[in-house]
Subunit: 141 residues, 4 copies
């Protein structure tokens, strides 16, 4: 199953709505497909200019490794040189913290990832999950 643009839009809109409901700082949300390629992205008015790369880096590492942000962060804390080396082979494009959420279909196959950035990593992940739930998909934070 691929991510349709329609599903990606729902994820983004509902993640941003959740951020506003929670009173978070302006958020940026990316949805990547199963190959790690950008399907859709929105950066809220007022968010810092460099937020695309952060959102992308959270989601990109999740897809490429098949490992969500929380697990990546644990690995970075346990074995910093490993995640540094991973970043080398992926062109420095990986941000190993929560807010990078794997998208799975009902059989457990990875069909993409969502990256949210702007507030704390944990709040970013909560906003992402709200969007993923609204789209009827399964997220792994």
């Amino acid at each position: 199953m691929a991510i349709s643009l329609r599903k990606a839009r729902t994820i983004i809109r509902k993640s941003l709505e959740k951020g506003r409901d929670m009173g978070l700082k302006p958020l940026s949300v990316v949805v990547l497909d199963a190959g790690g390629h950008v399907q859709a992205f929105e950066r809220e008015t007022g968010a810092a200019p460099g937020r695309f790369a952060i959102a992308h880096g959270k989601a990109y590492g999740a897809v490429m490794l098949g490992m969500a942000g929380t697990a990546q962060m644990k690995r970075a804390e346990d074995q910093a040189y490993f995640m540094a080396a991973v970043n080398g082979v992926y062109g420095g494009q990986v941000i190993p913290v929560p807010g990078g959420v794997l998208l799975r279909d009902k059989k457990g196959a990875v069909i993409g990832a969502v990256g949210v950035t702007g507030d704390t990593s944990d709040n970013d992940a909560v906003a992402a999950m709200a969007g993923i739930d609204a789209a009827g998909l399964i997220g792994e934070i």
Copy 2:
């Protein structure tokens, strides 16, 4: 004047609608702000995975040089080594063809750019202009 996320969404939606009305191939549309940073992006279902980079490259060169896609293409045809050198200093991120459209406010100041890719460069530019018109902004192709 900055590009609000709301305006960026309008540009993208109306560009995609125009593409469907014209019977174009699946399109991808990016909106960059006045600093060349991604505000919003959507890739239609069925578009090739690498289309973010092409859309981005069209819009990025426009903002960074203050020169729209048509003028960049003329420069590339007249003086290929110059545009190659430009790409060197901009990290290889510039795609100098139509479909990269400068956004101007009513006083003529550049406030961002739109990049559209998926069909011929000329059709891409037509779709971009439809989105820009719908958002009440001035485009330079």
Copy 3:
């Protein structure tokens, strides 16, 4: 539809067999999935050491642009600066010549690409098509 490893193996074996039947130089064959990621690769004994990158570059451009090697070569001949710029945004990873063959499913959706290198570009493409036919898939050279 994704490329299974089993299908990828068939494509590679039958492409190499075709090369031997035709008396071609030692070949190298890569199969990429729909996201441009390597599924399988083999380099025949005697092939030059750098052949992975050439095979990969032929297939990678095909997937990322949704455009097979023959069409890429025509574009490179008509508008050299455009394909040079494309290579900039894709990290210099595109080899725009025949031997990069798009894989499509029965509905026409791109499900990956095959890259063959070692002999002339045209012979490389013939070998690729033999492998693709044997796997029951549709190739676009």
Copy 4:
């Protein structure tokens, strides 16, 4: 002595079989020649898309330094800045953990390396050794 494609295939097949026998997650296996160049690679159906780069990074560091994954990991733990610097000169292509296995001939000369990724680093190395044994070669983990 060079690695023939035939030997490389045996290593890959038997490593993957070992992984299935042990109930490991889907594996990816690369075989590099004595110059660090890819001879063959397979990624099992279900493995994350970015696994080629990880497998390659494990094997590449082994060949380039003449030091297997376990020794590289020890060095990274003892002297992280050294392995970071090594990655600088090798273009960020080194993953210094087990699963990168040196291949030696009977006289002890390095003739290539195997990189396995997908499960824990230690299990990856066990799978690699099974493949190397089946091919009648000597591995150093």
